[in-house]
Symmetry: C2
Subunit: 358 residues, 2 copies
DNA sequence: TGAAGGTGATTAAACGCTTTAGCAGATTGG
DNA sequence: CCAATCTGCTAAAGCGTTTAATCACCTTCA
């Protein structure tokens, strides 16, 4: 890479930048001395200040010195003087309990990075004390702001110390007036899921909802009703079942479902759909021929690889993280009020087929 | 909380610490002025230096001032003077492609936190340039060291800039002599998986290996052989099949498997086992009665909720992350040589049953 | 009574960088 | 030929801490 001749004395050191490895980091001053200029000059060329008048010759000497010494600016010192740090904090209540949390981190990281920020993360495991400490740590690092995220969509209260900084709630919300938030659009998601079925001609559609109270429970049901009613199909409460939102719940709901005489079913989530697959198969029923199924969440490992692959609606965790930092940074036009709702895209696979016209 | 009387003038401010919200952060100097002491004194009490001689009265004045102003130390300034930061960097090639990466982050975060470090993360999506930038960023923040992790166990090469810092490879390894690494013990895992079957009396055990070359492929096979041989069962190469390591691969392997006349099968991973479940069921075969199955990875969403729940071997991602930071910090006794191998624990569920004695 | 020692604080330098004001010398204009 | 302007660079202050050195004052004891 560096084709410059070795004019600087020491003849046989193969990797000049490497030899200082793990030693005290090289400072601006050392570069300045090596180049025979002042630290101000070095700073000016490092930061490419166009206002500064530096001769090409000097500029080159500085660059060479930087190369030779393997200089890296000290970000701590920079932020100290500049007054504002380039950190965004992300506190999560469960980083790994679910693949989802990872996506929030991912989205936040990408977006933060895009705007020159680094992500500082902490996970609290739902522990209030840990949470307080984590937030304190972030405040001490003078983060630009904090993303407070939960692994499932829910109401939360805002920890006091959070208020000492800018913050936005991600995948959760609080009644509190000033609290900005980003959440998935459960209602739209529920509508989309139902529409997939509707679009294929199904008219009698069951919904297996969760038993566990949550915004998702209400929203997804609401979306189901809206989609139905938009098609002029009256909502029939006897078509909505409830079960615990996991595989076993879905499996257990099979019997009840079969009594309903429906041609299609929309499950609260993919895991229930997975259980339902087993239940249906046990009854010798085929998906999508005997029953069309859609899920919700788009939990990759499951949805994409069931037999047949499951049509579902995606929970936009990546987008949630990204939108969170955008909101924090004030990049999007400010919402009127209430949390910003993120669109849940439909993912069509093969668990739904057109209903043969009767 | 703060039951101190409001002796300081302004009468009706309800939340004293809160009112400075979002303003310029309070500094040590301001606390010092408010308490009528020098900044040195404040520093001394904040850090609880026992060597320092500070009267109780002064100490109290300082604490009150801190409370009133809502002071938080500036970590940047602290690390600047102390010379060493409290950061550990984690660069991952895929944060969210898989639930696994989340676990590595989680483990690293917990362990780092335990030792007073904060985790700085970056994900590179396998992009070399992004990777370089991410590492550069970490170096500029003068991290204590960097964890370089991959989402599946593999050989890697060490990016040049990584060498400018302490680092350890997590879930990957390099030939390079100086490169410390932590990886899962695939061989032991393969042995454990096989032993679960052996323990239940199975003697004729198939192994469905992956087609994709990887340390896991070799190691898990090796473990299978070792376990067999330890029981005096000669290794029979015709009992090892190969398929693409996902659900479809497992499903597709059903036919070949059934020709083998085995009573049990050990799958390269849980996803293949999931596919195999479907294949077996299609043939009207029951797990575990007609065929005992064990997987590998312990991919929660799948393994715990298949019908029947899958016995498997856990890939210790959390431990990998945690062991990574311990190694980085030099907390564990140094290994003789080669990567440190992390134990893969067995998780027994219901997909294996004792073989009725013939 | 005066030196020695203890107590409770302060002063000031340093950490690595950015940035404004300004300086010396060269060039230009009138 | 002198002032004005331009060019290339530097001095120094300041960001918020920590910490070694020091200071003023008070006790104690020989």
């Amino acid at each position: 890479m560096n084709s410059q001749e070795n004019s600087s004395g020491t003849p046989s050191s193969p990797a000049p930048a490497q030899q200082t490895r793990r030693a005290q980091p090289v400072t601006l001053r050392q570069v300045a001395e090596a180049a025979g200029v002042s630290t101000a000059t070095v700073s000016l060329v490092v930061n490419n200040k166009k206002a500064a008048r530096i001769s090409d010759e000097t500029r080159k000497r500085v660059h060479d010195a930087i190369q030779d010494l393997g200089y890296r600016p000290n970000a701590m010192a920079q932020t100290l003087v500049s007054g504002s740090s380039r950190f965004i904090g992300l506190v999560a209540d469960a980083i790994a309990t679910t693949p989802f949390a990872g996506q929030i981190i991912h989205g936040a990281q990408d977006e933060a990075w895009k705007h020159g920020y680094a992500l500082l993360i902490a996970n609290t495991e739902g522990n209030r004390e840990l949470e307080r400490d984590a937030i304190a740590m972030m405040l001490e690092y003078k983060v630009r702001g904090i993303l407070y995220s939960t692994w499932f969509h829910r109401a939360t209260d805002v920890p006091d110390s959070l208020r000492e900084s800018d913050f936005v709630l991600v995948n959760c919300f609080a009644e509190e007036p000033g609290a900005r938030a980003v959440v998935p659009d459960e209602v739209q998601g529920g509508r989309s899921a139902t529409e997939v079925l509707l679009k294929h001609g199904h008219r009698r559609i069951a919904f297996i909802n969760a038993t566990t109270p949550a915004p998702a429970k209400d929203g997804r049901l609401q979306g189901y009703r809206e989609a139905l009613e938009a098609e002029g199909i009256p909502f029939d409460n006897s078509l909505v079942l409830e079960a615990f939102p996991d595989q076993e719940g879905g499996y257990g709901a099979t019997e009840g479902l079969l009594k309903l005489g429906v041609t299609a079913v929309y499950c609260y989530n993919d895991r229930m759909a997975m259980g339902l697959y087993d239940g249906l198969r046990e009854q010798g029923l085929s998906i999508p021929d005997d029953m069309a199924v859609v899920g919700f969440d788009n939990q990759e490992v499951i949805a994409a690889h069931l037999r047949p692959p499951l049509s579902t609606v995606s929970l936009p965790h990546y987008e949630l993280g990204a939108a969170g930092v955008r909101m924090l940074l004030g990049l999007d036009a400010e919402q009127a009020s209430g949390p910003e709702k993120i669109y849940c895209p439909t993912v069509e696979r093969n668990s739904v087929r057109a209903l043969a016209p009767a």
